[in-house]
Symmetry: C2
Subunit: 210 residues, 2 copies
DNA sequence: TCATGTGAAGATTTTCACAGCG
DNA sequence: CGCTGTGAAAATCTTCACATGA
């Protein structure tokens, strides 16, 4: 890795490149240049090349990139080449949908325990996992190297979920609830409110024909 | 509206401000300055003020912003003050989760029809709606002013879903499937692959302690 | 020769700093 | 007086253009 700071936008594009490369690989392609890959990903070709330089040199001049080689390089760059243990708080519709998401387990993100605060849900089985009491996260996951927490509970319980996740040693939280949460400075929070994308779509569509 | 171009990042932040303002309103707050609102939203205060100037002047100098007034202004700026009819293709776990999302109907985004390509799903009732044949989108929604389509089908069916949505007159597509889709230039696509956020979280956490 | 890798230029976005106004 | 609204400066990100090297 050559630079200290890597733009957040670069990381998000890396995920797109990876997705498209996996798709091309399934189609049997072995080598691709930045130009056609850029078209497939709907970005500028030098953008791809620049993004890659943050992590090293992966291409061959005059030829392009080896597809599977680049896939491996990107997976390593993103640190998704090893397993990430996750826990989920809030086993409602959204939580269940995330749990059963096919891509999820295929990509080495493993949900090891699930939690809820609703007494009627605690004890139920969902996708082979028993729903545990959301107030007992720390003791349940102790010693299991869980670093990512997913909050899919209602807004009212998001802060409580966050506090219990932090207490259990989680360092990153993907927050699907429509509420801001407060956590210590060493914990990363990503906000993923479903509605926000609908808002921006509504805005974009309204602007289009004006 | 004073400017022609509005940064995409501004729109995403507007959604955050709106969410936080609604929260503050429920707590009974009537007036707020940019500084405390900025702290709550974890952004810079002048960022908020600058974002708002794209749409007009909403504050009172020396005082701050009227909370409910600003909520209305933001809702109008984002064009979410009127109803948006949506249709959904792919009634799997994710599709069902989106359909039953509480915030969804509360915010004037109404799913008027749902579709799937799986013969076993067609005819089923989900959230009070009958699952219709994904190849018959156009005839089913004809004349219903549907402008937003949601793709929550597997990657293999995403392109077919997109084509049928476009044919039905949809102008914006929220694509939750892990596949890029090709659509005419006047159709907006927003990619929302669930895995991408896990990737960027894995990346961020790996970088943190280095 | 051809496509990568990369400084430098350009475009965009964020932050500063303060004039302007209630 | 205090906070907004806003030009101008700073920071950041993207694109260009071409030297470089397989």
């Amino acid at each position: 890795m050559k630079q200290d700071h890597i733009p957040r936008a670069t990381i998000q594009r890396l995920a797109v490149y990876l997705q498209e490369l996996e798709h091309l690989q399934r189609d049997g392609l072995e080598v691709i240049a930045s130009e056609p890959l850029a078209r497939a990903c709907e970005v500028n070709a030098s953008q791809i090349r620049k993004d890659l330089t943050y992590f090293g040199e992966f291409g061959v001049r005059g030829v392009g990139y080896n597809v599977s080689g680049l896939i491996n390089a990107l997976a390593k760059a993103l640190s998704i080449d090893k397993q990430w243990n996750c826990i989920l708080v809030g086993v409602g519709n959204l939580g269940k949908a995330l749990l059963s998401h096919r891509e999820f387990s295929e990509h080495r993100f493993t949900v090891v325990s699930i939690f809820d605060f609703d007494p009627f849900r605690i004890g139920q089985m969902v996708m082979g996992l028993e729903v545990m009491d959301g107030n007992r996260i720390k003791e349940v996951v102790a010693g299991r190297d869980v670093r990512i927490g997913i909050i899919s509970s209602p807004a009212e319980r998001a802060q409580r979920a966050a506090a219990n996740l932090v207490e259990a040693g989680v360092k990153g939280i993907l927050n699907y609830s429509p509420a801001r949460i407060t956590v210590p400075g060493d914990v990363v929070v990503e906000y993923l409110d479903v509605m926000h994308y609908f808002y921006s779509m509504a805005f974009t569509l309204s602007r289009r024909n004006r």
